[in-house]
Symmetry: C2
Subunit: 732 residues, 2 copies
């Protein structure tokens, strides 16, 4: 086969032409100004590499416990490229993760230079990087030429030469590069670790010849041993509870560390664990001074805030925020002891809570990318039908809350291929019905039917298709936009045609082989409320006949409790919901919880609170879905939510839920909305965008702004940016 | 999300049930006898990992030069599984490349044990292995339980538990594992290297302060420096020719090695190169005793043999065999200096030569797997349309020569997805016409038209569809078999309908936008002969009007010369072809070739023989396609070829081509067919299978076996296994 030696003169023009005919539209502006460099890679590949590494870190008593779904890999061979127009020559330094080939204007530069001088004028710079082991990435630093978001990348450059020696390139799938926050040449993506800070033990208690170390609250990180001397084994038995750490035979995680006598005085363990307590038992041949830990965390600002006249609720908000922070790590994970995996259904709730706490877009994007993986798609996300669908709904919300279109523009092809996979699994009636290998999860609930056509899945599909229609529009694909819009409409109509019970005015649960089943469950009924698929009459009927009906199969997991409470709030049951929150979350606090649990059953006693799945310490005591008050307080009490993408329009509909006063902040892309509400006064400071404050008042409200009477004791104030509004009123 | 802790009792039955419903039919026989262990992995993944590593080893003056096409990766997370029925307890040792989770009957075993005792009775053993860096693989050794070809593997085990704690598994895509020859726990797949043996220099000549080392013939491997002392730089300038090694500024490969003074006395360079000569120039601060090399090679038997009354032809065969061996490495590559890549068109010729020399099935399989990669398919193999098609034709031949159906059974899904990709790129007329990103190669030839619908590509597609039809039958897919059979027929008919010139009785070259072009080239015309797509009249017309017609665009590359000479042999022009071989290959030998070149033009003079692509030493002097006499001598002079899969039937149709005598061996799956032919005598020893010796004789032949007169001076002898036949006859 012909050598691919590049001819300098000939290739330049061809490359420029071919870039114009690349598969995706990329505004390939030339870098002409000075900029700063960052590490860049194939978009999504860092997230795949990191999530592979993170999820396999789950251990159970020293056995690794990897996920049950498919792992993808970064592309091991990628080509980075940029066009520049230099006002003067530029001395460029090259850092690379992987061996590389450098081409300037299609001409190969010999060796793998650490720096290169590029003369003034227009140039195309390409680096082909190979790295099978981790992630091919580069950091290029010059006065003018810097690796940044403006570069493009491909996993198949298809640069070949014809028989005349001319270089040819066509059909190259160029993409904008991926990057994050690796802004220095020494901060390599492969070295990524979360931040750590030293924490000392709160109390120490002797246990036999060893000790029980209590760090005072649920935490995550690496045990440190100070002043370690001697040879032998040291055992660490971790516990989210005291009981677990005291039970070497049954605790879920443990480490046996062997010292050979020649170790340094200070030892930091290399595996992270979730715990509050750790029991340390060392061989008599080993001595040490003390135990501490490195707390590991993702640095995030607590932008959202909540405070109220009820101290218990405030504490619930604080512990929820801490729970959310502990589970917001490399990605949004379910629990820090277990599974330490990224589950799309769990992550979807984290996205929502994030919008009312951190508003960290990058965490949402990283998680979406890790969940989605790459091509080909051979199974649902996490193998679960509903979890593929939550992924789309998550993007719908992401766009609504953040207004960020770049993610959709960039990853629309991955959205589309997943949606086509999903659509390809519909049955003859056009409904999703599980095929071999499809896990229908919905919820853990005894006797919950999951076979055949389940209305809940069809409702998620309808919403997913709406997300696709909007995304196709953003990605500029009008045909797709139309197609998904129609499919969404059809799906919503079919959903009501088949599952809506006209007689009883509720959504039924299931049809099997064309036969409608009489079962009614809460799932589709509650989602139909906050998806706004029901009209007001339907909502009232569903509220009475389903949500507040004890004959309907009860929801027992905090996972679905999230939506149940949301649905109740969405129909104005804030006061009822606050009582539920006080009972459920307050109940955990009463039992000493320092983070919220995977599950809580008030009727359990003693050690029963720790067990799950038939294992005495099987329950995770720090689970993301336990943090839902963050979301509920922000959205349904402070009452703030976007009504157009990225808070360009938003609504503030405060609800005291029976409290004397509440106050707080809700983050947006353009700063934080601040609000204080008592029974007599409402104070609001808005952000960029048009806000609508809507409230009810027994008496005619007064304030510095124009107050519009909407009738039925309802009033509206238009909130303009960065102004404080004060309204006197009388709460109903 | 729910923990995936396994319940011992419950899972066992479910696992057994679910294995029966897996996607592919695997005869999951229980291991009950003693067997020997080997390293196992996900099928095809070792080949992908190794080919990625190998192909990026191409360097040009210290710059790496990776391929222009997409790289795939091994699955980083796979689950191995086997069912056993143990007569007694078995102590099993576990070796793993990657961290692992061990499950016995669905129950997780704590830790990552190096050995485990499994009690007597029926068991399911599973190991989930994670390895992002290279290849997840295992080696399990017990008295009864051993990792071997009977194990199955998946990249997504989909083992989850429902709300009742029962394990569920469905839709798991189990596959039979891949393995090769790693039969000891210490011979890990990731450590794979070819064999080496030390070679000494033949002559040494002082060059300035350095020296020129000549190893006597073309070779490949690692330079060794003996007695190296001091600090400084040592330069190695490699040359396939003396001229190249003497030209530090222009030689294609070089190495600069830095010594810091503390090195060992003996140094072996870590990068392999192709060369006969190496110029060594060391800083004066460096002293060494001598230079040698480690010759690197794939151990292969030279089963095919050829000898004749013409010493020149014998030398040509010997040098061809050496050329073929040098390019038969981790995979069949094009050239050892350059490109060191796997090109499907080049490899296809290596497969054919392999059947007449090594008959090494595994090399063919490795190469086919490396070329094919995995899913998704986003471009043609090597980005070249014809190269996707040669891949199918290569499998057609592989089955014909070896009779091996296991490769097709195992990889039929990859064949099918590639064929569907190819079929998806047909135009409205149903012909292949290049889309964006499709490189139509055919051959390097000035003025060769490659746009529009080219007959040559359609002919390769027709043959590929025949290969698919046969493969679908072997894989047990009757619908596919029928579909591809029909498509093949249609394609062959359309090919003749559109491109066959009834008036001139030749195949035309091209149609553009529905307009037939008058051009006639050799390509489709010569393939039509040995594909047997022409009838005898058509063949004669094509021979006269195309093959022996100097007005038709000449073929100048040894690549297409291969097929041109084959076509001429296939219509009985052996004597003419021998003259061509003496001229062309003899010409290279006369110029001192010790391996055959990428290209040879008798009209070149001096250094012109070394240059190509505008570079003074650009030409590869050891190129696989230069070794075609191996194939031609075996198939068209010794005259041996299979007529049914795996030589269950075969033909021996010797042709002296004007020589006094020829003799040789042709390998088959069941031993070597031996033949001696002079003008008076034919001696044949057959192998298992039915052989048909067909020859012409002026007089009535005599022999120990039954000789059937076929008319027209043609005779036939049935050759039974392992018997020597002697026939006296009189050559025409």
């Amino acid at each position: 086969m012909k050598s691919l030696k590049y001819s300098f003169i000939k290739i330049a023009a061809i490359l420029i032409i071919s870039l114009c005919s690349c598969n995706i539209a990329i505004s390939q502006e030339e870098n002409i100004g000075e900029s700063s460099a960052t590490w860049i890679w194939y978009p999504g590949d860092f997230e795949i590499w990191l999530s592979n590494k993170m999820q396999v870190r789950r251990t159970e008593r020293e056995a690794v416990f990897p996920p049950l779904w498919r792992y993808y890999s970064p592309f091991p061979l990628v080509t980075f490229q940029t066009d520049v127009n230099l006002p003067e020559e530029d001395e460029v330094t090259i850092y690379s993760e992987g061996s590389f080939q450098l081409l300037i204007d299609g001409k190969q530069i010999y060796g793998q230079p650490k720096s290169v001088t590029i003369e003034a004028g227009k140039h195309t710079i390409s680096l082909k990087v190979y790295n099978q082991e981790f992630l091919p990435s580069i950091y290029i630093q010059g006065k003018y030429i810097n690796s940044d978001e403006s570069w493009i990348v491909t996993n198949e450059d298809k640069l070949w030469i014809d028989e005349k020696g001319n270089a040819q390139q066509s059909g190259t799938p160029w993409k904008p590069v991926g990057s994050w926050k690796f802004n220095s040449p020494v901060e390599k993506p492969s070295d990524f670790r979360l931040e750590t800070e030293p924490w000392n033990a709160k109390t120490i208690e002797p246990i036999g010849d060893g000790e029980l170390v209590d760090f005072g609250k649920e935490t995550f990180g690496y045990i440190k041993i100070h002043g370690i001397k001697g040879e032998g084994r040291l055992a660490l038995y971790y516990g989210e509870s005291r009981e677990e750490a005291l039970d070497p035979a049954k605790c879920e995680t443990l480490d046996y560390i062997k010292f050979n006598g020649s170790q340094a005085l200070e030892y930091t363990h290399d595996e992270s664990k979730a715990f509050r307590y750790v029991q340390v038992q060392a061989d008599p041949s080993i001595k040490y001074d003390s135990i501490s830990m490195l707390y590991e965390y993702l640095p995030l600002d607590y932008r959202g805030k909540f405070n109220s006249s009820d101290g218990l609720l405030n504490e619930i908000w604080d512990v929820s925020a801490y729970t959310m922070h502990l589970t917001s790590r490399e990605f949004f994970i379910d629990g820090i002891k277990r599974d330490r995996w990224i589950w799309s259904g769990d992550a979807y709730q984290s996205y929502l809570m994030n919008y009312y706490l951190f508003f960290d877009n990058n965490s949402v994007e990283r998680t979406l990318l890790a969940l989605r993986g790459k091509e080909p798609i051979t199974a649902h996300i996490n193998t679960i039908m509903d979890y593929s669908l939550y992924w789309f709904v998550g993007i719908y919300d992401y766009y609504l809350y953040t207004g960020d279109i770049s993610f959709i523009e960039q990853f629309y092809p991955r959205m589309k291929s997943l949606m086509e996979f999903v659509l390809g699994r519909r049955n003859k009636s056009g409904f999703l019905e599980p095929l071999e290998g499809d896990w229908v999860f919905i919820d853990w609930a005894d006797g919950l039917p999951k076979t055949g056509e389940v209305s809940f899945e069809q409702m998620l599909l309808a919403r997913s298709l709406q997300a696709m229609s909007k995304s196709a529009e953003i990605a500029g694909d009008k045909n797709d936009q139309k197609r998904y819009e129609n499919l969404a409409k059809q799906m919503q109509e079919k959903l009501f045609d088949v599952f809506w019970d006209e007689e009883n005015q509720v959504m039924k649960h299931q049809r099997i082989n064309g036969e409608m089943q009489e079962t009614v469950t809460r799932y589709a009924n509650m989602f139909g409320i906050f998806f706004n698929y029901f009209n007001e009459d339907q909502k009232q009927s569903v509220k009475e006949k389903v949500l507040l009906n004890d004959d309907i199969l009860e929801i027992t997991t905090p996972y679905m409790r999230f939506y149940e409470l949301e649905a109740l709030c969405a129909i104005g049951e804030q006061e009822y919901v606050l009582e539920e929150i006080r009972d459920y979350w307050g109940g955990m606090l009463e039992l000493g919880a320092t983070s919220f649990w995977e599950k809580y059953d008030p009727s359990d006693e003693g050690d029963e609170h720790l067990s799950m799945y038939g294992r005495p310490y099987g329950k995770s005591l720090c689970h993301a879905w336990g943090a839902s008050p963050i979301y509920l307080f922000g959205k349904y009490y402070l009452g703030i939510k976007p009504t157009a993408a990225g808070y360009t329009q938003y609504e503030i509909r405060p609800n005291l839920g029976g409290l004397d006063w509440i106050e707080g902040k809700v983050p947006t892309p353009n700063g934080d909305i601040e609000i204080y509400v008592s029974k007599k006064e409402i104070r609001v400071t808005g952000v960029k965008g048009e806000g609508n404050l809507i409230f009810t008042s027994k008496s005619k409200p007064k304030g510095t702004a124009k107050i519009t009477n909407l009738g039925n004791d309802e009033y509206e104030v238009i909130i303009n940016p960065d102004k404080e509004y004060k309204i006197s009123y009388k709460a109903i």
